[in-house]
């Protein structure tokens, strides 16, 4: 059964489906995640970002769909009339728990929002796969289709040294869950620069420039739109990184001020993150119609002049 609802000037059909035994309607073309959240269900997401087409790679948002052999990713599965969806079953809980454990045991999720809450909710214990191994580290050298046979005494991780090769931002791929958002933001979905890619295969898959060259040798234009979409803190302003290293990063004390970028006539919205009366990083609202969270190098990183004072 379908009815029509009017949203703004567009007429969008709506479809009726069942979520956890309750009939709900959702606009045609929306996703199960939209529909579930609209009806108050809490579904964890990791690789999902609000400005990028979902890659549905993390598989933490899986729900049960009647008639489907496997669970389905709610972030990208579109609603259809008559769907019967369950968001909280033994299978969905198991999958979320295991995905949290698999990521938690292989990736540094210390800066990923909500993870400790979800670990509690789903009884996820990443440590049950064994002590993490940090010895490898040379992930850029991996040979596709080959690996060292593990002895099982430790759990392999994606640990590798932080890449610091430019003055503006750092890349700490030990924190990378491979959500693909930075690649998509750099590439065809936003920036069209294609400086980074997913290289290698399987557990050795990693975000990389060509031949893992430094960013300064790559096509990177330092728009920082990859930092904007990174959900795990793997990509970070140098200013933030250095303050965190020094132990002076205090997010709870920071204020956020929205303003308009002063450089050109486009009029991008900026959100200035300020600590101790100093700008420590710049973001842009992802729901803003001008930027969708995207900026250029000037808006993103060119804030130093604001706090320069005249020499005495």
């Amino acid at each position: 059964m379908s009815t029509q609802v009017t949203t703004g000037l567009q007429v969008r059909k709506s479809v009726e489906l069942t979520i956890d035994d309750k009939k709900v309607t959702a606009p045609e073309g929306s996703t199960l995640l939209d529909a579930c959240r609209a009806s108050g269900k809490e579904i964890p997401t990791l690789c999902f970002g609000d400005t990028i087409t979902p890659k549905n790679a993390c598989r933490v948002c899986m729900v049960e769909l009647e008639g489907s052999r496997t669970l389905v990713p709610s972030c990208s599965r579109k609603v259809e009339a008559g769907m019967v969806v369950k968001t909280d079953t033994e299978r969905t809980s198991h999958s979320r728990k295991l995905v949290l454990e698999l990521l938690g045991s292989s990736v540094d999720l210390s800066l990923t929002k909500n993870v400790s809450k979800w670990n509690d909710n789903y009884d996820a214990k990443p440590s049950r796969f064994g002590a993490p191994s940090y010895h490898h580290g040379k992930r850029d050298e991996a040979v596709t289709g080959h690996h060292h046979q593990p002895d099982g005494k430790t759990a392999e991780t994606v640990h590798q040294p932080v890449k610091i090769d430019n003055a503006l931002y750092v890349r700490d791929y030990s924190k990378c869950i491979l959500c693909y958002q930075c690649v998509d933001a750099c590439g065809e979905q936003w920036q069209n620069t294609f400086a980074i890619t997913t290289a290698g295969r399987g557990f050795d898959a990693r975000i990389s420039t060509e031949f893992a060259v430094d960013l300064t040798d790559s096509a990177c234009v330092y728009c920082g739109n990859c930092i904007q979409v990174c959900p795990t803190g793997a990509l970070m302003f140098t200013s933030e990184y250095e303050m965190r290293e020094a132990g002076t990063w205090r997010e709870e004390e920071q204020t956020q001020t929205d303003t308009i970028c002063p450089y050109c006539g486009v009029g991008c919205s900026l959100t200035l993150h300020v600590q101790d009366n100093t700008i420590v990083k710049v973001t842009s609202p992802s729901d803003h119609s001008v930027t969708h969270g995207n900026l250029c190098i000037k808006g993103r990183f060119g804030f130093q002049h604001v706090q320069n004072t005249k020499p005495e």
């Binding site: 299978r91 999958s95 596709t144 046979q149 392999e156 620069t193 400086a195 295969r201 060509e210 096509a219």
Partner: protein, 602 residues
């Protein structure tokens, strides 16, 4: 696109390799010489980007010529195809047959997969120095097997199987492999014209179209044109044919779905990326009867209204590549391909697309990405390929053996074909029998014989062998034990028994085989072959391998239960939440060894 090309330029060889495929560059932005005015022109962006499907063939061309993909080569390809260097690097590093570091021109790939390690004990660790361990090379009937690739102006690929350790060392040292043994030896029932799928193997020259024609060739195609596309689909539907790649989807339903699409540009893909460990049936068909594939694909394309076909052939099948290339060329010259085939008004042509060492590219949507010049990562379904497939168009993807079955269906009738087999499994089936039998090879049977009968057909067990286990369906399949020999080899009986026929692998492992080693190899295989896109498979296959290693090396009995539980948990999340069939089946064989063979119960 505004490309930023860093340091490193292609040398003459690399440029020649690229230009041999793409033609000489015409614009300075692509590396052409400046004209006499010294002008730089660039007009090709949009048209170049339509050539992205040439990326993998171009990488092959460079790899064939110089043995690896250098920075300079990537930069030059980047200019020629207007693809960013990073993206090309991402694609090149996806495939195991490519390397982005300089390496010797001669690469000796030694199979260390299930059948070969069972036969020779050859593992990753015990290979002669300089040899490269390889996943299943698809010549399990004469394990252990070696593939030599010597790159250069005329790239050479040789298969040697069976290979002794001394021979492997000699190959590494540069010696040539002897001429590969005749194709028909891989199908011990042949030559026998009464066979249905293998009728031409061993008695028809695979390089001669005249020989093919005089052995019943192109009769089905003529009949198909006579009865019309709708009737062809009706016959295939009536035959009860289901896909032979492992998923067993009804072929008629797939074709009808494509034929009913409103979009008229449609593609047909023959999935010849046969990489499931233990599987080699498609190789025998491709090598021994390539014209039949051309005929069957033309019928499938005619039925589904497709204008172009691709054969996605795994990169490790040199003889199949040679014979197929010849068949397509000859068929085109004789007007069996191209415009107005047999005066029917139907136009169709076929392109061979070489894989480059990625099991995942046998997944139907990963094939699309691979052909389109992207990393061979599976796509999310829906939309299904029959609606949105290759280049976004409706696409039929059929396995080689599935397509071969179309010929007897059309030559006889759907009804006749359906009279063969059991209630739930119609027609003829090829099984790849390897391991501890006297005559390993591809066997054509009518659905319904038992595992015991099939082993007898393959000459029975080797002297002194007793069955420890039989692997059905490959690494993605499952083990059965000696108590299961009366299992009827039908889809329904396998399902009832909690196992699968998969791609038709029947690997007989005798008492001499180290089962724990086999299980560890299966775990390693899935870890290596996972594309890395989704978490359950990318990390799950690693955790599965680690847990297995602990179980195998376990000294403390108490931990066994914990690790077995861990494996069950991993199996469930991979099955429930992986994007594609690789992750969903990556625990099957290990699970069957634990539950059915009780490998870890003292």
């Amino acid at each position: 696109m505004d490309l930023k090309i860093a340091s490193g330029s292609a040398n003459t060889e690399e440029r020649q390799a690229v230009d041999s495929l793409l033609g000489a560059p015409t614009e300075t932005s692509q590396g052409a010489q400046r004209d006499e005015m010294g002008m730089r022109v660039s007009t090709g962006g949009e048209s170049l980007r339509k050539l992205r499907h040439l990326l993998l063939p171009t990488l092959h061309s460079v790899n064939d010529r110089v043995g690896y993909i250098s920075r300079g080569a990537i930069n030059y390809i980047s200019q020629r195809l207007d693809i960013a260097p990073a993206e090309i690097y991402g694609v090149a590093t996806f495939y195991a047959l490519f390397d982005t570091k300089e390496r010797p021109a001669r690469q000796v790939h030694v199979c260390v997969d299930l059948a070969c390690r069972a036969a020779s004990g050859c593992t990753e660790e015990t290979l002669p120095e300089g040899a490269i361990p390889s996943p299943c090379l698809g010549t399990c009937e004469r394990a252990p097997s070696v593939l030599v690739i010597e790159t250069g102006v005329n790239v050479r690929q040789e298969v040697l199987a069976p290979a002794t350790k001394t021979q492997i060392a000699e190959l590494v040292a540069g010696k040539s492999a002897p001429v590969e043994q005749p194709i028909a030896l891989a199908a011990p029932q042949t030559p026998d014209k009464s066979l249905v799928l293998l009728s031409r193997i061993g008695n028809t020259d695979p390089l001669s179209i005249n020989d093919y024609i005089s052995n019943n060739g192109f009769t089905a195609l003529r009949k198909a044109f006579a009865i019309g596309a709708e009737q062809v689909i009706a016959e295939v539907t009536a035959s009860g044919l289901v896909g032979r790649g492992g998923a067993a989807f009804p072929t008629g339903r797939k074709w009808a779905a494509v034929a009913s699409q409103p979009v008229k540009t449609r593609y047909l893909i023959c999935n010849a990326d046969e990489s499931e460990p233990g599987t080699f049936k498609d190789r025998v068909l491709l090598e021994g009867d390539p014209f039949a594939l051309v005929e069957a694909m033309t019928i499938a394309a005619f039925a589904t209204g497709s204008q172009h076909g691709y054969i996605y052939l795994r990169g490790e099948y040199p003889r199949a590549l040679k014979n197929l290339t010849n068949a397509i060329e000859v068929a085109r010259n004789k007007k069996y391909l191209g415009d107005n085939i047999l005066d029917s008004g139907f136009n169709f042509d076929i392109t061979i697309f070489r894989g480059a060492g990625a099991y995942i590219c046998g997944e139907e949507t990963a094939i699309f990405n691979s052909i389109e010049g992207y990393r061979g990562e599976p796509r999310n379904k829906p939309p299904f390929p029959v609606e949105v497939g290759l280049f976004g168009k409706p696409t039929t993807v059929n396995n080689v053996e599935t397509l071969f079955n179309v010929l007897p269906i059309i030559n006889n009738s759907g009804e006749k074909y359906a009279s063969w087999g059991s209630t739930g499994s119609k027609g003829k089936k090829l099984f790849c029998v390897s391991g501890a039998v006297n005559k390993p090879g591809v066997y054509e049977v009518t659905f319904g014989i038992t595992l015991r009968q099939l082993i007898d057909l393959a000459g029975g067990l080797k002297p002194g062998s007793t069955i420890q286990a039989v692997l059905l369906g490959g690494a993605a399949g499952g083990f059965v034990g000696p108590q299961d020999l009366d299992l009827e080899l039908t889809l329904e009986a396998a399902r009832t028994a909690g196992t699968t026929l998969g791609s038709g692998v029947v690997m007989v492992l005798d008492q001499s085989v180290n089962m724990l080693d086999q299980l560890q190899r299966i775990a390693a295989f899935f870890r290596d072959e996972s594309c890395g896109q989704c978490v359950p498979c990318r990390v799950g296959t690693v955790r599965q391998q680690e847990a297995l290693a602990r179980l195998v090396n376990s000294e403390k009995a108490g931990d066994t239960a914990i690790d077995l539980q861990l494996l069950r948990d991993l199996g469930q999340v991979m099955r429930d939440a992986s994007i594609c069939g690789l992750g969903q089946t990556a625990h099957n064989a290990i699970d069957s060894a634990i539950t059915r063979l009780k490998v870890f119960s003292a």
